[in-house]
Each structure stands twice: as structure tokens, then as C-alpha cells.
């Protein structure tokens, strides 16, 4: 599903974030991406989400060579990738419902379908009663779950998360991870970057560890 082949990423300030990284993630697999801060975790996820492009080497996602993907196709590609962020990236002037509906509105879904799917996604993350609230009225854990609902609402085959539990206490973190497991169980490829070693050591999934831009 996700394949890196000798990928280098060099930023303009000569800092090399990834150096010749190669790995593969199977379709329907769930894996963790670990490593110290600055090891290149975020860069790796950004390459998959096409927020950044590799300096050298090839990235394949869902049998698509991202290196060759023209700029105008990027939005359509991103619709097939669910993204979850540490700081949620919610729009604070819109309700929970509108936040979760955003990917569907962008994709041009019809009104009824949007309502149905948004409620299904909110139900899945346990926030069905909060659809009329503004994000600011929710706790950190609830905001993160809104972010997850938005990431999965258009049923992407790949779900990426960058430190999704970074600001949460252990109990809430476990809940979030259980959510990811549930999505994985219905066939979604899940890739979570985290440094919460205690939490993931208790889970039976592959860990890909980065050290200075290479596999450790």
C-alpha cells in the first residue's frame, strides 16, 4: 500500500531529514512510526500526504507513483488519504458537523449523503450528540476524535496520524488508539507516528523506528 524506495529528503537549509529510506506497508496493515524528535517522522508522513516531495527516490501509495503526480492532481490524491494531526487542525468558526462534513463538501457529495455519512463517522467516534457544538466547547480528547471523524468520513483506504495522542492523557490516548484499531479492522491501512513508546509496546503492531532519517 505504501512503499518507499531509497527516499531522500533534503530541506533548503541543507538539513537532510531522510537519507535513503526504504520500507513497505501492506494493504490493510497497521503500523507505528517511532523515533526521537527530529528523526524524520513528520517528514515521512508529509511525503505520503504530498505536503512535501522527496528530493530523491520514489514513494508509492496505492500503486501510484507520487514522484510523478502533477500538482493539479494532488487534491484528488489527498481525498484518498485520511490525515489526523496532533493539533487537530479543526476550523473553530464551524460546528463539529461542518468540520466533519468538509471533505464530503469538497468532494461534491449531495446533501443527504453528507448528513448520513457525517453522522455515521461521529457515531463511530462517539460524538453523535455534539454535532451542533463548536470545537472550542469540546475537550482535547473530543476535538481529536472530531479530527479522526473528519479523516475517515470519506472512507479513505489509508489513514495517517501524526502524534495523535501528543496532548492527551494515557487513558484518552488508549481510547484514540482503539479507534485506529477499529478502522484497521475494517481494512483501512493505518500508519501512526508517535513517541508514546509505553502505549504502543502493549499493542501487537509493527514498529518502524527512524534514527537520523534512516531505519534504526
Amino acid at each position: 500500500m505504501i512503499r518507499f524506495s531509497e527516499v531522500y529528503k533534503r530541506y533548503t537549509n541543507q538539513h537532510e531529514a531522510l537519507s535513503g529510506l526504504s520500507f513497505e506497508l501492506d494493504k490493510g496493515e497497521m503500523a507505528f512510526l517511532t523515533g526521537h524528535s527530529g528523526a524524520g517522522k513528520s517528514t515521512l508522513l508529509k511525503l505520503i500526504a504530498l505536503i512535501e516531495r522527496s528530493s530523491h527516490g520514489q514513494v508509492w501509495v496505492n500503486n501510484q507513483n507520487l514522484t510523478r503526480l502533477p500538482k493539479w492532481k494532488v487534491p484528488y490524491y489527498r481525498r484518498k488519504i485520511g490525515l489526523v494531526f496532533q493539533d487537530h487542525n479543526l476550523l473553530h468558526d464551524r460546528t463539529v458537523f461542518d468540520n466533519v462534513a468538509l471533505p464530503l463538501i469538497i468532494a461534491g457529495e449531495n446533501h443527504r449523503e453528507i448528513g448520513r455519512r457525517v453522522r455515521a463517522a461521529l457515531d463511530k467516534v462517539g460524538l453523535l450528540g455534539k454535532e451542533r457544538s463548536l470545537p472550542i466547547a469540546l475537550s482535547g480528547g473530543e476535538q481529536q476524535r472530531v479530527g479522526i471523524a473528519r479523516a475517515v468520513v470519506n472512507r479513505p483506504p489509508v489513514l495517517l496520524a501524526d502524534e495523535p495522542t501528543g496532548n492527551l492523557d494515557p487513558e484518552l490516548s488508549r481510547e484514540i488508539m482503539r479507534l485506529f484499531e477499529q478502522f484497521n479492522q475494517v481494512g483501512v491501512t493505518v500508519f501512526v507516528a508517535t513517541h508514546d513508546q509505553d502505549l504502543i509496546n502493549r499493542m501487537p503492531y509493527r514498529q518502524i523506528t527512524l534514527q537520523q532519517g534512516r531505519l534504526a
Binding site: I51, P75, Y76, L83, N89, I106, G108
Partner: protein, 309 residues
């Protein structure tokens, strides 16, 4: 399925259209100020244009007034004068002639001026005999007229051939100058409307950088991001155009009374042309065009710089 998509597409556009109107509604003070600036900037050239059209309307009433006064030498006897008049009538470029002897001229002057007593003290009639000529050529055919004028001037009996159109030509030239000035003014003010809208949209874009990044992260195309801003420009332009129309209407309403009184004092049939129908279409349409264009330019410049990081 395609039908459904097209239906969805228009529905989305309507929603974005109303959404951007709602956004403007939420910041009434800023919106009103922007719209007023646009409205005044559009009303100025439009008002001057209406003024110009009215001046043209006034001058067109004198269109057929083109005539040449042929002042003959004092010594020319009446018989010669009448003969000359008949002779001139056979010229192909002369439409009509009328002869007025010096005595007739004096009588007319006496009647019009009321200077009866004073005129009686004159030792002899100071007024020359006159032939008034209606040329075939209209006033617009300046060359034909001036060639006719030359030929008339060179006739032996003629003291002075005077085209009574010169002042009208001057007025026309002034009109033309006015027209060009107004065009330049309109271009400059349109440019300023473009800049005002562009700048307002630029600020709106900067205010919503986070939102734009999030939209791009979840797969929003540039077209999707652009759309609400284009509609914002659309509303600014449309409402600004409406304000311009209202401004114009109020102005015309204010000056209509005095203008009509002025016209009746001059015994003129002149009625102020409002052009309100034309302007009602033209101003909002032009405003909308400028609005969308200004927004497009602003969005084009700034959208590419806002990418998710």
C-alpha cells in the same frame, strides 16, 4: 448521475454565494465602508457621463440651425441683392435663401431692441443688407461648409460671410474633450475599484489562511478555495454598483427641479435625461465584473503561497 452532479454543482455554488454574503453580513461596518468606496468611485464617472449625454442632447436641438449670414456691402442696391439671392438659390450646395434689405434689418432691430428714439437720431441706416443661407451640407460636413463659405466670401458684393456654427463647433469640441476626460476618469476609478476589492479580498485571504490550509489538506482544489472569495468580490461589486446607481438617482432627483426651471426660463423643451434604466443595468453589471476580476487577481496572487506545512 450526471444530472445529479450538475444539480449538486449548482447547489454548491448557490450555497457558497449565500455563505459569502453571510460572511459580509457578519462584518457590517467594514462591508458598508468597502461598498461605499466602490459605489462612489463608480457613481462619479457615471454621473459625468449622464451630464455629458444631456449636454449633447441640448446641442443636438440646434442641429438644423446651421446657417450662413452673408453681409453685403452697404452700397449694394436692393435689386442687386435680390438678384444675388435668386442666383445663390440655384447653387447645388444651398438649400434656401432669404434676402433682408438694410431697411428690413433696421425695422427688425427697431422692433426687437426698443431703441426707437435713438435709431431715429442716426444720420443713415448703419445696417447692411443680409442674405441668410441654409446650406445643403449639415454642420458635420465641415469641409463642404468651409468651401462654400470661401466661395461666398470671394463674391464681389459680399462684405462678410459668417458661418453661425462656430460656437456650436466649439461646444462640440468641449464635449469631445469632456468625453475623453470622463473616459480616462472612468478607467482610473475602475482601476481603483479593482484595487480596493483586490486589497479587501487579500485581507480576507490572510484572515483565513488556517482555513485554506485545512481545506487543501483534506483535498480541496484551488477552484474550491477560490470560489468563496470570488463570490465575495461578486457581492462587493454588485452592491457597490447598486449604491452607485442610488447615488446617481438621488443626485438627479436633486438637480431635476432647478434644471427644469432653467430650461423653461430659456423657453426650451429640454428635459433632463436620467438614463436610470441603462445605468440600473450597467452599474451593477460593471461593478460585478470589476468585483470578480479584482477578487480573481487577489486570489491568484496569494492562493499559491498558502500551502499546508
Amino acid at each position: 448521475m450526471l444530472n445529479l452532479n450538475v444539480h449538486n454543482y449548482f447547489l454548491r455554488h448557490m450555497q457558497v454565494m449565500l455563505y459569502s454574503l453571510g460572511q459580509l453580513w457578519r462584518t457590517p461596518a467594514a462591508t458598508v465602508m468597502t461598498i461605499l468606496v466602490i459605489g462612489i468611485a463608480l457613481a462619479m464617472p457615471a454621473g459625468l457621463y449622464v451630464l455629458l449625454k444631456n449636454v449633447e442632447e441640448v446641442s443636438s436641438q440646434w442641429d438644423d440651425a446651421s446657417q450662413i449670414s452673408l453681409f453685403l456691402h452697404h452700397a449694394t442696391p436692393d435689386s442687386r441683392g435680390k438678384q444675388l439671392a435668386e442666383q445663390l438659390l440655384t447653387w447645388p450646395d444651398i438649400n434656401a435663401v432669404s434676402y433682408q434689405s438694410s431697411q428690413q434689418s433696421l425695422d427688425e432691430f427697431r422692433a426687437l431692441s426698443g431703441l426707437d428714439d435713438l435709431l431715429n437720431t442716426l444720420p443713415k441706416n448703419p445696417l447692411p443688407p443680409v442674405i441668410i443661407i441654409q446650406p445643403t451640407a449639415s454642420q458635420h460636413e465641415a469641409e463642404a461648409l468651409s468651401s462654400l463659405l470661401d466661395r461666398l466670401q470671394n463674391m464681389q458684393e459680399v462684405e462678410l460671410a459668417q458661418l453661425d456654427m462656430e460656437w456650436l463647433q466649439r461646444l462640440r469640441t468641449i464635449n469631445e474633450t469632456g468625453e475623453r476626460s470622463i473616459t480616462i476618469l472612468a478607467v482610473l476609478l475602475s482601476l481603483s475599484v479593482l484595487l480596493v476589492i483586490g486589497n479587501t479580498i487579500r485581507l480576507a485571504i490572510l484572515n483565513r489562511q488556517t482555513e485554506i490550509r485545512v481545506i487543501k489538506l483534506v483535498g480541496g482544489t484551488n477552484a474550491f478555495v477560490r470560489r468563496p472569495f470570488l463570490y465575495t468580490g461578486f457581492w462587493y461589486g454588485l452592491l457597490g454598483g447598486a449604491i452607485a446607481w442610488l447615488t446617481l438617482l438621488v443626485t438627479l432627483l436633486t438637480i431635476n427641479g432647478p434644471v427644469n426651471r432653467l430650461a423653461s426660463l430659456y423657453d426650451s423643451q429640454f428635459v433632463l435625461q436620467w438614463l436610470s434604466g441603462q445605468m440600473f443595468i450597467a452599474l451593477p453589471l460593471f461593478g460585478t465584473l470589476l468585483g470578480v476580476l479584482g477578487a480573481w487577481l487577489a486570489v491568484g496572487r496569494h492562493l499559491d503561497n498558502i500551502e499546508p506545512t
